[in-house]
Amino acid sequence: VAQTGNKLEDEFRDFVAARSTALLRTAYLLSGDWGAAEDLLQIALTKTYLAWRRLGRIEAVEPYARRVLVNVATSWWRRRWHGERPTAVLPEQAVADGLDARLERDALWRRVKELPARQRAVLVLRFFEDLSEVDTAALLGVSVGTVKSQCARALATLRGRLGEDGIEPAARRGDIAAAVRGGRGTEMQ
């Protein structure tokens, strides 16, 4: 029994060594805060370790950990305090021409963090994890239509808010029709 336990623990440590950095990146994009990301990662890893024997195949482990990460992040966000967050660096102010790519990315990131947790999770899974709509839907436990509508709604919100910031990136020339089409999807719970 002890040998089985040690083997299990060794396998788990190998998995964490190989994948924890990638999971931490996703956790940060979901939470927008490195401290919260570390908390998310630890919760996901603890639950994964508890489920390790049941998961059986190593190929099943990472999707499970990622699913825990996303689900905790989205349910967590609803309960967390949403007030002022300390930041080590003051947000950069836009300069006169407003076209610098770095400033656009900063503004975009600020606006992404303002999105509802589910919408942000969809964006992270689609555009950071590069998951397909089908895989994103499977991971979130929702329909493909819901993924499409949430994604379109998030993109439309971002376009609108970037416009309010006075930023006119090429992004605003995006496919508005996609947002209209996506709006017919099923709402997420």
Binding site: L24, R25, Y28, Q42, L108, W109, V112, R159, A171, R173
Partner: protein, 402 residues
């Protein structure tokens, strides 16, 4: 593919280009998982015990009804306390099962003055529920003057403020101990990796100040704060660190078995019985230890038959005068102001096994039993405790510092 989607890809990639190092996430997860399993097993055991109790009670009820031809008395929920001057304060024996109808109902008590914790929410004594979103599995919670200290899932110690907001107070570690007045905290720092570091600081509001630290041998952990010094334990035994000495120089005392906290400027502990002592007991002896320049030394010791190894951690009252020891259905209250001179102390007996206990103040111990909450006074009077309907069996008592 829109330009906004491309911008998102670039933004996401740029945000996570530099990832901070996380110290031993696998080890932390394994520890937390084990603690969670232990907790779940304890809850499952409690549920099983409760089920057995219900079955036995039901069988007794059926027998009683059949034998007498009338309905039995409703089951009373408490037992009487023992007299305060009970001679020979020995281990509390499990009282034989009595017909429930013969047990007197406990005097009704006042509301619980302690907070409760169920692993994710603190139920305050005034009835508020405060969720902790990022709590580590199996963590303990300590009430301090400005909130509750707990370990977060990222192995840092955080403060949940009274307004429900969780803040990072600057404690970069998960093994923490709090002084009896709640104003000082000691912990093992998570960094630097490979160099175990013990830290001590003042806890003022929601931030720690005047942090001092020392390197310590691997395997060292803080166990209590006594008179401004940090009691530490390792496989070599117990010792203390005096922050005025800057660097910890170990003088481990291997005869010390366990340290419970502070009484006056001394540490309350159990120590190995003296081998030649006629009154030595296998369970060890109760002792008060002085923290002198060259280590820990007994100043007072008693080996009278106190069952010091209960099934739960022994708990000291806020001033350190009383030590509560749980054994089966009883709790011994040892008076440290007199126990080294004569046999003294009291005991309370409850209707079922003790599953948790904490002091409300120096005169009142609250006990969670498998059949409900009870309050035991230092005069050995047992009363019931009014708790809210939400305080189910899975809630644990939160000890208070300060």
């Amino acid at each position: 593919m829109t330009m906004l989607e491309d911008a998102l890809r670039e933004t996401f990639a740029g945000q996570v280009a530099h990832v901070p190092a996380v110290l031993d996430p696998a080890g932390t997860a394994i520890r937390q998982a084990r603690a969670l399993r232990r907790r779940q097993q304890a809850v499952a055991g409690t549920a099983l015990a409760l089920a057995v109790t219900l079955v036995v009670s039901g069988a007794w009820w059926a027998r009683s009804a059949a034998g007498t031809g009338r309905s039995p008395e409703p089951m009373a929920g408490a037992a009487a306390g023992l007299p305060a001057d009970q001679p020979g304060m020995g281990p509390v024996e499990a009282a034989p099962a009595e017909p429930p109808s013969s047990a007197p109902s406990p005097p009704s008590g006042s509301a619980l003055k302690l907070d409760l914790f169920n692993g994710s929410t603190i139920l305050t004594a005034d009835g508020r529920g405060l969720p902790i979103a990022d709590v580590a599995a199996g963590t303990s919670v300590d009430r301090v003057p400005d909130g509750w200290l707990y370990t977060s899932a990222s192995a840092r110690t955080r403060l949940l403020r009274a307004d429900g907001r969780s803040v990072d107070v600057g404690i970069d570690g998960e093994q923490f101990v709090v002084s009896a007045d709640g104003t000082r905290v000691a912990w093992m720092a998570a960094r630097p990796a490979g160099q175990p570091t013990l830290k001590l600081a003042e806890l003022t509001g929601d931030v720690v100040r005047d942090v001092v630290s020392t390197p310590v041998p691997a395997g060292t952990s803080p166990v209590a704060l006594v008179d401004g010094r940090v009691m530490v334990a390792s496989k070599q035994g117990y010792d203390y660190w005096d922050p005025s000495q800057l660097i910890f120089k170990p003088t481990w005392n291997s005869t010390v078995r366990e340290v419970f906290g502070q009484y006056g400027d001394l540490a309350v502990a159990t120590v190995d019985a003296v081998p030649s002592g006629s009154d030595s007991k296998p369970g060890g002896c109760l002792a008060l230890l002085s923290l002198a320049g060259d280590g820990l030394h007994d100043t007072r010791q008693t080996c009278q038959p106190i069952a010091l190894s209960g099934q739960l951690p022994n708990v000291l009252s806020p001033t350190g005068r009383w030590l509560a020891i749980a054994n089966g259905r009883g709790a011994q209250l040892v008076d440290l102001s007199t126990v080294f001179d004569r046999t003294s102390g009291t005991s309370c007996v409850f209707p079922s096994n003790v599953e948790g206990m904490a002091w409300e103040d120096d005169g009142h111990l609250v006990v969670r039993t498998s059949s409900g909450w009870r309050r035991c006074t230092t005069d050995a009077v047992v009363t019931s405790v009014d708790t809210t309907a939400r305080a189910a069996d899975s809630w644990t008592l939160v000890s208070r510092s300060g």
